[in-house]
């Protein structure tokens, strides 16, 4: 369950990024998660909620952009489509062994930040 540690790192990263903008709260966070990072988006969302629920960022949305690893053919140059969670042994067109690219993304892309004083009813 390393998602809890990751959620804490995401929160710290976001807070550092918005620090120059003064006080306020996070409204949403967009992260990129690659297929080869062994991170489960649903568990990450649950951990995010747990990490933020007692602070000023309670209720901030975590949006996950899922990045699939690509199996590319070094022979014909094509990227071969495959269902999530499955792997292909060889290129269906030319039968070459496929190479794996990408899928290791683990990044905070951007955050929505509401400075204090904006938005009626803010605490």
């Amino acid at each position: 369950m390393h998602e809890l540690g990751l959620a804490m790192d995401i929160h710290r990263t976001c807070r550092e990024a918005v620090a120059p903008h003064g006080p306020g709260r996070l409204e949403w966070v967009k992260v990129a998660i690659g297929e080869l990072t062994a991170v489960e988006p649903e568990l990450l969302a649950f951990a995010w909620q747990a990490v933020t629920q007692d602070g000023p960022d309670a209720g901030a949305r975590l949006e996950v952009e899922w990045r699939a690893a690509r199996q590319c053919c070094p022979g014909c140059g094509g990227t071969v489509e495959r269902p999530r969670g499955t792997w292909l042994y060889q290129c269906p067109t030319c039968e070459r062994v496929l190479a794996v690219e990408g899928g290791d993304e683990l990044e905070v892309l951007s955050v929505g930040f509401v400075p204090s004083g904006e938005g009626a009813g803010d605490g």
């Binding site: 390393h2 790192d9 990263t13 062994v97 794996v100 899928g103 400075p115």
Partner: protein
């Protein structure tokens, strides 16, 4: 409405910074560092015991052992005559670079040629955490399923070396070695692949020769 703040930062940046510091320090000391990752019970510590028998005292070895509880693994390696430091994670499923920094500072090992970091038994969580190692090793015992590389692609894609353990049991289990070899080759083209048995000694020589080669290359 709020403002959109562009961040574009790696989530594990803090861990990666600590890992980079470790890597610089290992480089300065000429220490080869190996991060061993597998399910619980795949034979990480036993492989290390055979490795110590083969390489020590010619090479100065040390180990950092990650476990949720007990000093048992570190004690096993100390009995083999090498310094070993136990990290008790108290439930956490992986080691991170800051824990390794603290453990090494506290352990104050004498100069070391090869440092083994035995991660918490887990094929999933340790995958994302760089510990400043030269390479990761994924171990897979023949009593586990032959579909494991495709089921846990992250670790087999990131481990430069795959080691099959308990090969002496092959006649007794349905384990398609060639299927595993093919899966690993797809996830990690050009990776090293060893078939070992800590009981019979099969493959231990080749595994140790890899460590010697990599140490020499690092110091060249």
């Amino acid at each position: 409405m709020g403002d959109t703040v562009d961040v574009r930062q790696r989530i594990l940046a803090a861990n990666e910074a600590a890992a980079a510091e470790l890597r610089r320090s290992f480089q300065a000391q000429g220490t080869l560092v190996v991060n061993l990752i597998s399910s619980p019970g795949s034979g990480k510590t036993t492989l290390l015991e055979r490795t110590v028998e083969r390489l020590a005292p010619g090479l100065r070895l040390a180990a950092v052992e990650g476990d949720i509880a007990t000093e048992r693994d570190a004690e096993r390696l100390r009995r083999m005559g090498i310094p070993a430091r136990q990290i008790l994670t108290g439930g956490a499923c992986h080691l991170d670079a800051r824990q390794v920094q603290t453990a090494l500072a506290e352990a104050a090992f004498p100069p070391v040629d090869v440092l083994f970091i035995e991660n918490v038994g887990n094929l999933i969580c340790p995958t994302s955490y760089d510990l400043g190692e030269d390479f990761k090793v994924a171990l897979l015992s023949v009593t586990e399923g032959a579909d494991k590389p495709f089921k846990y692609p992250a670790i087999f894609a990131r481990a430069e070396v795959a080691v099959i353990t308990k090969a002496d049991l092959l006649p007794h289990v349905d384990f398609d070695l060639e299927a595993v070899r093919a899966q690993v080759a797809i996830l990690r083209p050009g990776g090293e692949f060893f078939v070992t048995s800590s009981r019979t000694g099969e493959g231990i020589e080749a595994w140790c020769a890899l460590l010697e080669r990599r140490l020499e290359a690092k110091r060249a």
